[in-house]
Symmetry: C2
Subunit: 317 residues, 2 copies
């Protein structure tokens, strides 16, 4: 599944152009599933240039300085125009250091905004997922999860994690939240993650992830191999003619050596970043495929238990 | 045929690594033909940091400041290690504004260096091409061409053009030089060119070209379409859902719209430059294929004569 970004696509090229092209699938020529986020996360990251009200958010475009308004209705209208298979509710994502009062306000507003998103949504061929907020507060997360579960949505997301908090907090938030969301529906942890975070979240019941890590690492010349991050600019790869990962089925590993990829990134050849992106994405997909096989094979704890804390091991039995 | 650069590969990753990988074909995983230039052109472009003698050229590496020596023997040794199918003699390429005396000296030295290249060359599976220098002086070009033709080399190049001189001078140089090189051998015009330059050179007997234009234009968001250069950042492409060229068989034109490529380059997505490179290279290859078909079909002058000056039209009959 490809994730496309509502906020960035609204600024460039604009949803009307994507709609004119026949939607995202045709525009980018991708026949697989696509998900669009709601723009909430990006807008709330622009903390210096925005104002929030019950109605929505107004912010200054970093592209051309124009004032832009986003609201639940506007986000859904944009996502209806973009035409992804899964679209996300417009939520308020409080920062890690927000006070409990601010998080309560954001969580309640996110719930009211979800109601408005559901009302605004026009296309039955797009699945609208709700998002659980609640910051680092277990009781707020649980209340929000129960409220959402009652709505019988096609899918559920845990948002507002990976916003600067320690990894242990992500784990705790996911542990208290995921089990309260319907196991029969996709449960999606937004913006995660590392190998460890993925294993921990799967142990807690999460089905779906998105993360910039594989492509961001690739743009910085890093490969994910065997659970490690390797910087291909490192001198040890200059004469290493093995593939990045001899067990990997990706185009990069089937055709090119570490020495060649190292040469490409040292030369700042664009092909280097493309080859590393292909490998890193394949590596994470293969990692989740191994987890899936282990779950079906009753060997999840034996194979992946070393990533888990005692709490999660108990929960996974 | 892919052209690889002896000078750049010597600096990074170094020919010993390419040789260790099993040669350029295996290193970059390209099974088609490869040609390496000799490094002469690049070294002589570094006019501030080099010293030339009969023995060879010493220059300061722009990568790490180390002094590097290149000579006919060294260039051939590097090219033998790189392992391309066609390798080029190490030549002295005088600048456009060089005096006649300086050009005579460079042309004679290039001939003496060719003799040393032939003696140094170790691999019978690599074809070593000689290079005609002579600047903008028809008599020097002709003398050099006749000297080289006598050597029965596997191929012949016209070098030292496209170094800043007006396009008319390129045309004149090619017209006086190409017909003196054996028609039964590949005749290669180095560093050219535009549509017009290609047609003019083919009319004079040239078979082979190399040029940065298709990929350099792509990196600057330009597409070659129907003989024109289009900047895909232009507003007129934002909502243009046609392919770059509806008659083109390349991956880019078969799958993506002008609007999508425009969006990619506006977003500085690396995919945009890759898609434009694919198209531009295909476009120039298709252009030469059309010329080849026209020649075989006796319609070269009818179809391409509008690119030619009266001199060349007379010569092509």
């Amino acid at each position: 599944m490809v994730l496309a970004n509502t906020y960035h696509l609204h600024l460039q090229p604009g949803e009307s152009i994507v709609e004119g092209a026949g939607g995202l699938h045709r525009f980018m020529r991708w026949d697989g599933p696509i998900l669009t986020d709601s723009g909430g996360f990006q807008v709330f990251s622009l903390s210096d240039m925005r104002s929030i009200s019950e109605e929505g958010v107004t912010f200054r475009s970093p592209k051309d300085g124009q004032m832009i308004h986003l609201s639940p209705e506007r986000s859904i209208a944009i996502q209806n125009a973009l035409g992804a298979d899964v679209i996300m509710a417009f939520d308020e994502c409080p920062p890690y250091h927000a006070s409990r009062e601010a998080v309560i306000e954001a969580t309640d507003r996110t719930y009211r905004w979800l109601q408005r998103c559901l009302k605004a949504h026009q296309r039955s061929d797009q699945a609208l997922f709700g998002i659980v907020q609640g910051g680092i507060y277990a009781d707020l997360r649980q209340r929000a999860a129960r409220q959402l579960a009652d709505l019988d949505l096609p899918g559920y997301a845990i948002g507002g994690v990976s916003v600067g908090e320690p990894a242990e907090l992500i784990e705790q938030i996911v542990q208290v939240t995921a089990p309260l969301l319907p196991a029969s529906k996709p449960r999606y942890l937004m913006g995660v993650g590392t190998y460890r975070e993925i294993v921990q979240a799967i142990a807690a019941g999460v089905d779906l992830f998105d993360c910039v890590i594989p492509t961001r690492l690739a743009r910085h010349a890093n490969a994910l191999v065997a659970g490690e991050r390797w910087n291909l600019r490192n001198a040890r790869f200059r004469e290493d003619f093995a593939p990045l990962d001899a067990t990997c089925s990706c185009y990069t590993c089937q055709n090119f050596s570490r020495a060649y990829v190292s040469h490409l990134v040292r030369s700042q050849e664009l092909l280097g970043y493309t080859l590393l992106s292909i490998h890193n994405i394949t590596e994470l997909v293969q990692f989740t495929q191994r987890i899936r096989a282990a779950i079906l094979n009753q060997s999840f704890l034996a194979e992946f238990g070393h990533w888990l804390t005692p709490n999660l091991i108990a929960a996974s039995r």
